[in-house]
């Protein structure tokens, strides 16, 4: 399946390193590229395609900041090689909003103040969409456990959990690659200071 072609790197006359040709669909666009076999998917997305919405937060697959969808299922793109995405479809945070309309999960994160610094947010949103695809009507505990692989240092998760439960309400069952669009719901005001 992999088409291996030796290629000289510019400015490295003596070095010959294998690269592999891959064909990947990312956020609906087809790309043909030559990559080093060791290149991580997240680096391919960020450095070759400029998809810098997906970020790197750790080097042990613990934080989940780099979470994307591969053929409709969430993966940590720091734990997938670019060559493993050959012939497959990748969806990132940058492909969620369509026609200027946010995905209901993005809208729920905004409405529920489910982000502060926002660094974990792309991965968190991608994981949350996957979670609802598996379990469209989770309870609070199921949401917490479903997000266990995604770390946030700002929110204490309270509003993230709230946002995911809110999104579950807004979305029809079966959110995934062909997610339903939420009704354009006017965000309910949040009373100041009330009990949680």
């Amino acid at each position: 399946m992999w088409r291996i072609t030796p290629a000289s790197l510019p400015h490295a006359d003596q070095e010959v390193r294998s690269v592999v040709a891959i064909r990947v669909t990312v956020d609906g666009t087809h790309y043909d590229d030559d990559v080093e076999p060791r290149m991580l998917l997240v680096h391919y997305l960020r450095e070759r395609l400029g998809k810098v919405g997906t970020v790197v937060g750790c080097d042990t697959s613990n934080c989940g900041a780099c979470t994307v969808h591969l053929d409709g299922h969430s993966v940590k793109s720091c734990a997938v090689l670019a060559v493993q995405a050959d012939g497959r479809e990748v969806a990132t945070i940058e492909g969620l909003a369509r026609d200027g309309q946010l995905h209901p999960m993005q809208q729920a994160f905004h409405d529920n103040h489910a982000l502060q610094c926002g660094f974990c947010t792309p991965g968190m949103i991608m994981q949350a969409i996957d979670l609802l695809a598996d379990n469209p009507d989770p309870d609070e505990r199921a949401v917490r456990e479903g997000l266990e692989g995604n770390l946030c240092r700002c929110t204490g998760y309270q509003n993230i959990v709230r946002a995911v439960l809110d999104a579950a309400q807004r979305m029809s069952p079966g959110a995934g690659p062909d997610m339903e669009r939420a009704e354009d719901r006017h965000a309910a005001p949040v009373a100041g200071g009330g009990g949680e």
Partner: protein, 792 residues
Amino acid sequence: MTATVDSPGLEIGKARRRKEDARLITGRTRWTDNLQLPGMLHMAILRSTSAHAKITHLDTTAARQLPGVLAVLTGADLAGEQGSLPCAWPITPDMKAPPRPSIAVDTVRFAGEAVAVVVARSAYAAADAVEAIDIDYQDLPAVLDLEAALAGGSPLVHPDLGTNRNALWVFDSGEAGTGGDVQQAIDGSEVVLRRRFRQQRLIPAFMEPRSVVVDPTGDQMIVWSATQIPHILRVMLALTLNVPEHKIRVIAPDVGGGFGGKLQLTPEEVLTFLVARRLGKPVKYTESRSDSLVSAHHGRDQIQDITISANRDGTVTGLKVDLLADMGAYLGLVTPGVPILGAFMFNAIYKFPAYRFACTNVFTNKTITDAYRGAGRPEATFAIERIMDELAVELGMDPMQLRRKNWITHEEFPFTTVCGLTYDSGNYEAATHRAMELFGYDALRMEQQQRRERGDAVQLGIGISTYTEMCGLAPSRVLGSLSYGAGGWEHAAIRMLPTGKVEVVTGSSPHGQGHETAWSQIIADRLGVPFEDIEVIHGDTQVSHKGMDTYGSRSLTVGAIAALKAADKVIEKARPIAAHMLECGVDDLEWEAGRFTVRGTSNAKTIAEVALAVFAAHDLPDGVEPNLDSEATYDPENFSFPHGTHLCAAEVDTETGGVRLRSYVAVDDVGVVVNPLIVDGQVHGGLAQGIAQALYEEAVHDESGTLVTGTLADYLVPSAADLPPFTLDRTESPSTSNPLGVKGVGEAGTIASTPAVVNAVIDAVRHLGVRDIEMPCTPRRVWQAINQGGSQ
């Protein structure tokens, strides 16, 4: 204090969704690591694997020959230009401040210290070349234990200093004239209790790894950095490297969290700067998480010996605090001052008549410590709230009753404490009443009793924390009296655009706090313009030329007040122009809701109309410049003192030592609330970090000084599954320290929650003979405490 509380306007208090979110939820964020400049090179760092050693051999030949490698530089190459990283807080005149290199020249003093840098055309090539560097060390004995470090004959982190003691800093209320002599107080008391607590070493673990890009263009250097402190960074880079300040522009784009961990001039920033300057090319360094955990500064790490005295009726009579604080191998920007920020908080909300604080700062062969969310105040709050529980047990009192007996009552504000600080406002009774109501305190106490009587395997504990803290760093004169190297003011500017839109330039530098939203709300009210018509600009020294940045819960209480004062100047500049337009005297004008109205008429001009008239400048009063833009620099008169009551119910499985938080109630009083969504969010996140200290996180070094919690697989930042839902509410005692009545909320949750949780865990198993459990209260430690029937 002459400040009064202004009446709340339309925007202040509203749960506005954040302006910042639009780019963050769509992946259009401007992280430093996203930058790709033409010709940009990538830097990687080889770090010491030894905690204390001589570098005996360093060969970069093989690394230099790898493809795509432009340079490999060692400490020897950079020694002449790297200067010494700054410490801005010489806490005593005789404090020992060793030089701090960005890259080790011949000796390494902690595992993780930079020893060589590689510059290559890609990050992968740079990482490959780091692997190809050949280095040998001759190990020296490592100093790892705080007490052993001070013993005679200990190896020395810096032999030139002749000691591992950095400084001794003392506050004594008897000597200061702010209270009595603590030894007399203790000697004359009926009950004296001593406890030793350990504040384990923590890692801030902001989610965005640090990243820096330096672009040299001629002699102008543009520095992008994931920093909390672009303005301080610019000054410190200039001073450290002897580069003219006006040739440096620092930009902090979107920054992914900091928690104090990005309050630093880092070796990585200096090295990237030096390498970019040397090669004349833009260079990027982005750390890996493993790099970050070992090299970005750590926090906490104190041994606290606390003595409290009281009378049998529960009245506290004295408090004595002796600290050992770990600096690590060098001093960072405010390293030695962190424990001092806690010095004024051990007495907390209680009316101690006598108090003494002494802190010995100690060097060890570990990563430096410095500010981490709360910086000194969580440590102090933990110690006092823990020992108040112990005192209650000793006296046979309910722990809340003991607190009530000793706290400052709401009629007593403003209250000058035994440290000489004046607490602005508060109502501990109201916050506590509300918290106990939400928590169901009496019912839980009853259930606890039943479980104890039944001998259930799972026992229930209740933990209390009635905390206060100081926000709004800081009145410059106070910082001066503490020998801090800078002021505590903040700067802001308002620019009125011809179309009536407004730009607010703030010297604060947000990294998740939501300034763009909150400042918009505040200025919308002040200038009477729509929330949507305001843009908040920050984090670029060329645009926001002056500032003291964001830390210490100072942004709202200092930074936003500067913006408010700049807005007031805009209004005053507009007033004579509006009078001219309306053909009346300035005294005939009333300013309300964004318009000048001629008193008693409906003739009015909005601030937008005045802004347009100023833009045209065809017909202005004589001598009036065509400009409404205004700046203000605000230096606070006092700190603000948020407070609150946090209650935690913890279930402890006595068979496994496992702890489950069943409920957590936080009632906080942070003064006037600008945006309740943001305030609640700050509390949530703060609680998570405080709970993490209580139960999960610890930076652990092995006997050789290697950090063994060097990845996120080992350093246990809690996930959603590890934390309970929180129940929040607020009381509101407006601050008298500033005209908005705001107090700050960034650190409150972290400061309050750690003792609440540990008190709850111990309360659950106290009847089994447990008096203390060291943090983090892991199942192993809890189980051992139960089974050994004593302190762990």
